[in-house]
């Protein structure tokens, strides 16, 4: 990424993020969010993350790969299972399990 693109990226991200955080305060209560928008917002993080995870795992490099050569597959499966098994420590469980499974597959199967 060129440094010009980086500057545009960061300024753009700052502009949208700050506007979101500030706009309601700036106009102090002259309008509020409709109920349906509030409901929709709760789905945003899981929906966006899922849309990144699935193609990255099932189609690494842009091609379908459902074989055991694809170490992302068991790593992701391990991370999902571990996440559900340890609801109080989801992040730690998913990351550790995913990385360990990935390493095992890379070393022993390739």
């Amino acid at each position: 990424m060129s440094s010009f693109a980086e500057i545009v990226l960061i300024l753009g991200m700052m502009a949208v993020t700050f506007s979101i955080r500030y706009v309601l305060l700036a106009f102090s209560g002259r309008f509020s969010l409709p109920d349906s928008v509030e409901k929709a917002l709760r789905y945003v993080p899981p929906a966006v993350l899922t849309a990144i995870i699935f193609p990255a795992v099932l189609m690494p490099g842009g091609e379908w790969n459902l074989t055991l050569n694809n170490a992302y597959l068991p790593a992701a499966a391990g991370a999902i299972i571990a996440g559900f098994l340890f609801p109080k420590r989801v992040l730690a469980a998913s990351i550790t399990t995913g990385l360990i499974v990935f390493a095992i597959f890379k070393v022993f199967i390739r």
């Binding site: 990424m1 693109a5 980086e6 990226l9 960061i10 753009g12 991200m13 700052m14 949208v16 993020t17 700050f18 979101i20 955080r21 500030y22 706009v23 309601l24 305060l25 102090s28 209560g29 509020s32 969010l33 929709a40 917002l41 789905y43 945003v44 993080p45 899981p46 929906a47 966006v48 993350l49 899922t50 849309a51 990144i52 995870i53 699935f54 193609p55 990255a56 795992v57 189609m59 842009g62 170490a71 992302y72 790593a75 992701a76 991370a79 999902i80 996440g83 559900f84 609801p87 989801v90 992040l91 730690a92 469980a93 998913s94 990351i95 995913g98 990385l99 990935f102 390493a103 890379k106």
Partner: protein, 248 residues
Amino acid sequence: MSIIIKGQNQLMRKEFLNGARDTFPLLLGAFPFGLIYGTLAVSSGLSVKAALAMSAIVFAGSSQFIAVGLVAAGAPVSIIIVTTFVVNLRHMLYSAALLPELKHFRQLWKIILAFFLTDETFAVAAGRYRKDDDSPFKHIYQLGSSIVMYLNWQFWCAAGLILGSRIPDASAWGLDVAMIVTFIGMTVPYIKTKPMVMAVLTSAVVSLATTQLPYKLGLIVAAAVGIAAGMTVEKLQSVNREFKREKL
């Protein structure tokens, strides 16, 4: 007169320190994210300067993560900015909730507190505003929380960047898998209700079906369809409940 001012200063300092103190447990929650963000940023192809600047002036963890992931995937700048917008929209809920508390303050205060508004600071500050003592400096409490969150985030991002640049050829070591499993760990806690399951499954299927779309547009399409699917199930559930209640 000077006694009153002195007393006020003490009160303000107390609010600031209490805000900082009550945020402390959440700092521990944020530090691995900062560390991982920094590490991933190195392997994504973002320069160290840009990764630091992003933490310093965007200051929004999950969108920074996603931005780094999209940079690594070669997405164009415009799509990353649109995605940032979508991902951070939830912050509007927070400022909506804080509005009654902050609306009588000067514009400068609103700007400062808005810039630093994160999930963690919102959670802590909302607790302070709810207490019904009539301290006029609850916003200073929020500022205290904001400042420690900010410093903590900058510190761990920088630490992650140093760590990431010490590991030669991080992507060959599978650091991109670290990003994927981190995202999984961030998604799993949401999956508790039927509507959420529906949203996630739909987003998954649509994201796989739309990988051919240019500019990584598939991401936005998949998320939008997933959100709509989740809301539909939620709507059906409440219609169903109404129906059962009427029959009783």
